[in-house]
């Protein structure tokens, strides 16, 4: 297999020190919507200034560079073991170059591994596909936003949420209310309906890789995404929880089959620093987006 380490270091650098164009544009639009001179407007202007400075200095947008989550799609016959080894080498090197903060802490000893490698760290998902090329998607997900993720079991009598899309809507609104500004609002919501407790979170986080302007192929989910985007913002929690017009700037929903007895709704909250990046390797040539 060709050596992809340097390209993968560049993927990490791009993810950590810049924001995707659609995310930055959404934050810019959010800043324009807030009342001039308000704390909410000030927060968003500071965020945008910080992003521009991070990009220019090639420094992390946020000091919490999070868990690196890799989704790797590969043609038939490629060794996922070797791909993972190369990605791990790249993560360690990116940490050495200060693109990532050392974030992998041994849960028993409390010791930080120092290079972002550890048991189950970073996270890898592999998928074989029919395309002839390799695609690496990377998301850096910080701890503040991870702490406010939530999983609900329907029905939920407190919220009067039944086992249907209206029940889903209610628990998502509750999750955003519970999070207040603590997940570093404004955020993006990745939501999974169904699955089990484990796959619910995996599928919810997969939604965070979607571009903000894509359209859900399932019309019912597309409608719910749009409705929730509006209703979450009616909570007026605002940037950093200061109060304001933008509380979330993206809602993406997927649905898995579920057990008859279970109806989980899983909400993966992503902070404003929705740091995703993509590397495609085709015929030995690397392209980033």
């Amino acid at each position: 297999m060709e050596n992809l380490v340097e390209s993968l270091v560049e993927l990490v650098r791009r993810a950590s020190t810049d924001l995707p164009a659609d995310v930055e544009a959404a934050l810019r639009a959010a800043a324009a919507r807030e009342e001039p001179g308000s704390a909410a407007a000030g927060a968003l202007e500071t965020i945008l200034e910080n992003v521009a400075m991070a990009r220019q200095r090639s420094a992390p947008v946020c000091q919490d560079t999070g868990t690196p989550i890799f989704v790797i799609r590969h043609p038939q016959g490629v060794s996922t073991r070797l791909l993972q080894q190369q990605a791990e080498a790249a993560v360690a090197e990116a940490t050495r170059r200060s693109y990532l903060r050392p974030n992998a802490v041994d849960s028993l000893s409390g010791r930080n591994s120092g290079n972002n490698l550890g048991v189950g760290f970073p996270t890898f998902h592999f998928e074989e596909w029919e395309e002839p090329y390799l695609q690496f998607d990377l998301l850096l997900k910080g701890g503040g936003s991870e702490n406010v993720c939530a999983q609900y079991r329907l029905p939920d009598s407190t919220l009067k949420a039944g086992r249907d899309l209206d029940g889903v809507r209610k628990v998502v609104l509750d999750a955003v209310y519970q999070a207040q500004g603590e997940g570093c609002a404004p955020g993006v919501l990745g939501i999974a309906i169904g699955g089990d407790r484990g796959t619910g979170y995996v599928h919810a986080k997969e939604q965070l890789f979607r571009r903000l302007d894509d359209v859900n192929p399932e019309p019912e989910l597309a409608a719910l995404e749009e409705r929730l985007l509006g209703e979450c913002n009616e909570l007026c929690i605002g940037p950093m929880g200061f109060g304001g017009k933008t509380t979330v700037f993206g809602v993406k929903i997927g649905a898995y089959h579920r057990l008859p007895a279970c109806y989980f709704v899983t909400i993966a909250y992503m902070c404003w620093a929705c740091r995703r990046a993509r590397l495609v390797v085709r015929d030995g040539e690397a392209t980033f987006s």
Binding site: A39, N50, R57, P60, Y177, F242, G243
Partner: protein, 208 residues
Amino acid sequence: MAVYDLKMPISEEEIRALHVGDTVRLSGVMATGRDAAHKYMVENFIRTDRVPESERALYEELKKLLKGGAIYHCGPVVRQREDGRWEFVAAGPTTSTREEPYQADVIAHFGLRGVVGKGGMGANTLRACQEHGAVYFHAIGGAATLIAASVKEVVTVYKKDEFGVPEAFWVIRVEGFPVAVTMDSHGRSIHDEVRKSSQEALWRLIGA
């Protein structure tokens, strides 16, 4: 909602003029302090009959530094230059609520005018702000590069070896550090108000 430039030390009059929603650019000398620092101050200086001899020198320094000053809840990423001086590389705020058991006492004892962090604090801190003339300055979560760039100089550091880099008292000179007042000295807290208004909106939207 107004925009202010404030230089530390800050007077009570300047603090009383601030209201929730105001944005402020802080300049001057301030200190970082988080979990270990707050526990240390309360145990050695405040809830004690006698300051230990070994800690007396630092106590005197902190009294000078914090009087009219601000404490920043932050565990910075730092770099040591070849000449031995330190630099802040990334310095966003950490969640403040962990200091709630200590903050009111620290405000009262040292005459702090500002607490800088993220996420807001509770009723005891809000009451201390009202009684002693202090505010909670909310820094922008994630704005690590920008905030580090506003740190013009690391003046000195206390307790680095004992507490570790993130937990030490870093004495820093900042210029134009951007914050928002989210708890003022008049008893208002944006955090309480937003929680309440968003709960009402939630009930309306889910019809519960």
